[in-house]
Symmetry: C2
Subunit: 105 residues, 2 copies
């Protein structure tokens, strides 16, 4: 679903990824990380879609909440497995959301 974020400014983390052929454990870990992220201080929402390319955008109050989530020990383990098993390549972009507008929401 489209995340109901507050009025800007806030932060977005755009995570763009290409999967490897290894799927074992991936869906379970992805679900677990969404659950866990949503419990972190400063979490504002998450959006995700995958076809050939996967795009997950998570929204955060500030850089501190992003930094804390990146350093979360369970998340560190997921990142390690991601590099070792599930992802062929990824790129993460840390962005300040300056403006937004919508339709039909």
């Amino acid at each position: 679903m489209i995340a109901h974020t507050p009025k800007p400014p806030y932060y977005a983390v755009i995570f763009s990824s290409l999967k490897s052929s290894e799927d074992k454990g991936y869906a379970e870990m992805a679900d677990l990380m969404v659950d866990l992220a949503s419990k972190q201080d400063g979490f504002l929402g998450i959006e995700s879609a995958r076809q050939e390319l996967g795009i997950t955008v998570s929204y955060w109050r500030d850089l501190t909440s992003i930094r804390n989530w990146k350093a979360n020990s369970d998340h560190l383990l997921a990142q390690k497995y991601g590099r070792e098993k599930w992802y062929q390549a990824y790129k993460t972009r840390i962005c300040l959301v300056e403006r937004d507008y919508d339709f039909g929401i």
Copy 2:
């Protein structure tokens, strides 16, 4: 594919959308808009995925290039059709990419 963007800072436009049940003409227009966007001054790349939710992230050199693309006459027509026919809801977020890092690229 994962867009090969330059070193930050640059801009990202995150377009998150829910389709209506109307598909007629949508895929053709989406392809046309990607083609046209990629020819604009300041365009840096684009990433897209859709499941239930669609996420398209386009990358731009600066706010001026985003503003010019938003005001492009063919794009204005696509936006109008989007609201009238193809989209149930969407949200657009204009973001300054401050940092990025990658793996396997």
